[in-house]
Amino acid sequence: MNATLRAVGSRLLYGIPVLIIVTLGAAALMDLMPGSPGQAILGDTATQAQVDAINAQLGYDQPFIVRYFDWVVHALQGDFGQTLFTREPVTDVLMRRLAVTAQLALMALVFALVVAVPLAMLAALRAGKLLDRVLNFVTSALLSIPSFVNVVLVSLVFVIWLKWFPATGWVPPTEGLAENLKYAILPALALSIYEAAFFYRIIRSDLTGTLREDFILVARAKGLPRPRILARHAMRPSMTSLVTVMGLALGRLLGGAVIVEYFFAVPGLGAEAVNAVSIKDMPMIQAIVTVCVLAYVLIFIVVDLAYAWIDPRVSVR
């Protein structure tokens, strides 16, 4: 346990330089962007004096490095400032958006696993047979579909042709779960297609490798039924790369659902990020960036710990 704690600690420490560089980089980038926040708030008709006044009031007349340290001091106390236009606390907006994105990400992960794991098992059992070959082709085709084509096609099929789901929008789960699912299923489905194909290929390739191992031969020789061998003997050693890939997928889904959220008008983190960049909402961007980096570091700590849990030969250092 002590070693585990030390492992977690050292990885957290490793995340700190990344966090500093990313937030500093974001601040510098925003500083490089043409136009100032005052300009963005007041629009093109404002005089330079009015713009300067707003900038001074919000502290944007300071050099960016001063503003950055100011931000760090506040962020360490859990205060991420206020959004540029609506003057809401950034933390509140962030939590609201994050809840939506997290719901979609989890749903997408579950969809992907439910589809990918059984299919991969079937294909691995009959490697090289028809099902395996068909799925191999289908998944490589699915991996070649960009997410923005994906959303269009999903929407074409389920909204326009089948008319099963509303085209865009969002209802939070607090206002009725059924209504929420009506809006959540389609984006989650769109997100899960790529992940399902990815998971399928990873699991299938690991499983076929494991099935060639001697301990599988022993299990067969003992007369154990095939499903039992597959579930108890083959699955566990084949899970290490799946766990890594799931970690990557979760990171991608939490921060990278930009296209899906944009297309289906879901008020999640990705849509907010696009919006924040376009209106130069510095406090919001910094907060989103921080959350993404934290999620990235945390996910990889969990993945490393999961390795040691799945495969006792791996020790966490």
């Binding site: 923005f148 269009v152 296209i259 990705g270």
Partner: protein, 317 residues
């Protein structure tokens, strides 16, 4: 090892059946447990021949069309209106794929869009490659500080959702062809940094490097003359896939409205425009979607083929 006395096929000097050839001769009977350590068999090529030829043909056609777009007889300019909107395909060159939402030739826009997409893919890949080679080589060769720098840079770039980082970079540099290309090159650099660093670390303890060092070669000479040529197989199989990613990401930017400015056609922009009218005219969006899909699939196929030939990334995917 008393095999039936058969005359071995006349192969090589003497009739030695030791070493590699002994291991490689197929077993005629016995258990599936080999007595000699298994040597790694050459992985069967997973890429179908026909697929590969199709991919190469498609990419060649695309490149030729993009290069000679200006001199293709009968092909109108991409901004020229040739008829009413969303016309179905007819047999003229201009109208082969029908017209888009404002009556411009779809074929022309796809071909001129290929110019943009391919240029961006090639140039941004080169930019990323240069960054990755320099940072990755120095990091892998000198280790210590240089390696830590390479790690932090790669982790920083991949800690953020790529699209978010890209949006920020593009809005800072400017949404021009140059700006987008540079931004894409920076975002993909982490892939090249990781791969180069790993390969350099593996190569720098090999005998030929030690031999070169013993002969008095300097660090730069070893890096350029000894290690660099050995990176070609590794990088060569990644580059086509990275180009596919670049094409997709450029399309995503255009889809979000942050891509190449309006009159210039891009596949992502065509898909975004087509999505608006797909309820009535699903055919308009079909062409850019199909083009993009085939292009990405072709790049991935070529990459798969190269990586199976050079035996990198074996086992996974």
């Amino acid at each position: 090892m008393t095999s039936p006395v058969t005359t071995p096929p006349a192969s090589g000097p003497g009739d030695r059946t030791q070493g590699i050839s002994a291991v490689n001769t197929p077993r005629r009977f016995g258990t599936s447990l080999s007595l000699v350590p298994r040597i790694k068999q050459r992985r069967p090529r997973k890429v179908h021949r026909g697929m590969l030829w199709f991919a190469v043909t498609w990419l060649t056609l695309l490149v030729l069309a993009a290069v000679f777009a200006d001199v293709i007889p009968g092909l109108p300019d991409y901004s020229e209106k040739i008829g009413s909107f969303a016309q179905p395909p007819d047999l003229s060159v201009a109208g082969l794929l029908g017209t888009d939402g404002v009556g411009r030739s779809n074929l022309s826009r796809i071909i001129y869009g290929a110019r943009v997409s391919l240029t961006i893919a090639v140039v941004s890949t080169l930019i990323g490659l240069v960054i990755g080679l320099v940072v990755g080589m120095l990091g892998g060769y000198y280790r210590r500080g240089a390696e830590a720098f390479a790690n932090v840079l790669a982790n920083t770039l991949s800690a953020l959702p790529p699209l978010l980082l890209l949006l920020a970079l593009v809005s800072a540099i400017g949404a021009s062809l140059t700006g987008i290309t540079v931004a894409l090159g920076v975002v993909i650099a982490d892939l090249y940094i990781r791969v180069t660093k790993g390969a350099v670390i593996a190569a720098s303890n090999r005998e030929y490097v030690l031999a070169a060092r013993a002969l008095g070669a300097g660090d730069v000479r070893i890096m350029v003359k000894e290690i660099l040529p050995n990176l070609i197989p590794v990088l060569g199989s990644i580059i086509p896939m990275a180009m596919a990613i670049m094409i997709v990401v450029e399309g995503s930017l255009s889809f979000l409205g942050y891509g190449i400015p309006a009159p210039t056609p891009s596949w992502g922009g065509m898909i975004a425009a087509g999505a608006d009218i797909m309820r009535q005219f699903p055919l308009v969006i079909l062409w850019p979607v199909a083009t993009l899909f085939l292009t990405v699939l072709s790049f991935n196929t070529v990459g798969d083929y190269l990586s199976s030939r050079t035996d990198m990334r074996e086992g996974k995917l």
